[in-house]
């Protein structure tokens, strides 16, 4: 297996540049950084907070699996986060022009996010990256998430519903009270199966059993997953066994978020060759079979 890191596949071509005679008029940004206005920012359980913000037209075009880069305010006690922080789209309303995020307070930047109150401004940049692709000939998909992946997968529920695609969501967490997105999936007609560490239901063996049943029932035309490399491994095995397609949303530390800096690379196995891709630009959603843990 030849190792060539950072040999990204062709990146999506840039939008066709404007013609010379009328360039300024023609060119239009597809990614913006704007001062969104916070509508709400509250804890929904012991770990996660839900942030809702009014935004502009472009941001409100975000699609499931895409993400934003947030310029986090300074948390109390000082220390200005210098770089933006990536956050998956959790919800979007193109009419109301509103985006939602679900985040866990981890370090400097997210501690800054925590301080935001309704009415405050938040500099958001997006929508970014390649989101999930919902294939028209899919009838029923399975979404398997854990951790921040529960936020990343959430917007699939509405999108699948809109396309008449059935969804089974297997949502994993340490404890039942730390599960998120359960109501959201149900609201959009998905079947939700919750598995937790405290109930000893979240192990790979149990999830594999659940998935095998769904496959057997013809309710798994594709896997969508995020947030657990163990569960990703289970799905990769089943996908190979049953020749099913799948997509996975990956995380990596980011600086620019738009493919400039090559700090967010990960290795992928593309037909037996290891290639390096930028999570922000070539992903964050990748082909399940190419992802490496």
């Amino acid at each position: 297996m030849a190792v060539h890191r950072d040999l990204s596949p062709e990146t999506p071509p840039p939008p066709p540049p404007a013609e010379e005679d009328d360039s300024h008029a023609r060119w239009k940004a597809s990614v913006v950084s704007e001062l969104a206005r916070v509508v709400d920012n509250r804890a929904i359980n012991a770990e996660y907070r839900h942030l809702v913000a009014d935004c502009g037209e472009e941001s409100a075009q975000a699609r499931p699996g895409q993400f934003f880069q947030l310029l986090c305010p300074q948390p109390p006690g000082g220390g200005q986060p210098f770089l933006r922080r990536p956050m998956s789209l959790y919800g979007v309303d193109p009419e109301k022009r509103r985006v939602e995020f679900l985040y866990k307070v981890a370090g400097l930047g997210t501690r800054g996010l925590e301080t935001l109150r309704a009415g405050d401004r938040l500099d958001i940049m997006g929508p970014l990256g390649q989101g999930f692709r919902l294939n028209a000939d899919c009838r029923h998909i399975v979404a398997v998430g854990r951790g921040a992946g529960l936020a990343t997968l959430a917007p699939l529920a509405k999108a699948a519903e809109a396309r008449g695609i059935g969804v089974t969501a297997i949502l994993s967490a340490r404890r039942p009270d730390l599960l998120v997105s359960v109501e959201l999936f149900r609201h959009h007609g998905a079947e939700v199966i919750t598995v937790t560490d405290s109930q000893s239901t979240s192990g790979p063996a149990n999830v594999e059993r659940l998935l095998r049943r769904l496959i057997a029932e013809g309710r798994c035309d594709a896997f969508f997953t995020c947030g657990s490399s163990r569960l990703m491994g289970v799905q990769q095995r089943l996908a190979r066994e049953f020749d099913l397609p799948g997509q996975v949303a990956m995380e990596q530390q980011m600086a620019c978020g738009i493919g400039l800096c090559h700090c967010c690379v990960r290795d992928f196995n593309v037909n037996g060759e290891i290639v390096s891709r930028r999570v922000c630009w070539d992903g964050p959603v990748f082909d399940l079979m190419e992802a490496l843990p």
Binding site: P16, E20, S23, S33, L83, I258, L260, S276
Partner: protein, 320 residues
Amino acid sequence: MSETRDIDMSVRIGGLTLRNPVMPASGTFAEGLESVIDFNRLGAMVTKTITRELRAGNPLPRVVEQPGGMINAIGIPSKGVPYFIERTLPCYTPYDTPLVVSISAPTAEGFASLAAELSIPGVAAIEANISCPNIEEDGKAFAMRAESTENVTRHLRAATNLPLWMKLTPNTGDMPEVARAAEAAGADAVVVANTILSMAIDLKTFKPCLGNIMGGLSGPAVKPIVLRHVFQCARAVGIPVIGCGGISCADDAAEYLLAGASAVQVGTATFVKPAVMVDIIDGLATFCQRRDIPRVADLIGATVIEEADEPDVSWLSPAS
């Protein structure tokens, strides 16, 4: 944008006239930025450094945040010259903005042959990133010393007729001398400067924060240091100096022009504020307008130094 009409924003860098003095810094610019800003607004475009060989780049983590900046050790992941010519170059040819190609090589001959190979239509200038190790000199970067800089510049000069910009490192104690060496050997401009070698240690693991142990500091934190280098280099050479280090607003760019830069490159600021280069261009025009300065080029080197100000370097290192 209407303000920019009244001000002559153009600057000359050797044989090239740029529509304005603002361009990206190598390694912080790629096609992806087209989703945020119109490349036809820029003074020039500068590619990430490319090498002849395929290169993997450095181990992760490649970036660590610092107060007022970041340290990076991306390395130079490179897909080689054919990929660049066939796949990358065509992304930029549609724009009415000169493309500067940044190159690197481990030997002076390597630099020369790479420059020759890239002296093709669509490439407006070569920027030689000589802040990289010279394998013929025990791995010391070319730009650490005047002699090796002169040597590599001479090789490059013989290999290409394109405007030749030499990008220097601030990790030397001799920048003005190195700049003079580049000028003597035929460079059309010097870019001052690359990042400042730095380090951070993770207090949880006691390991370096970067996979490469050390990396280059960039962003606002380096501005006062690199501004000084630009001031010193601009006084040392007759060719244009292109300032690069921590520029994140029009005022920063104006400060660099006053210090003697003929143009500026913007790097890290784009990561934080992706449209910052356009803001800087508009802001420079406003800066000139407010002061009744008709041409942005009038700012270049316009720092007022009074007789009494002659520096007494005292316990500081000398001002070259």
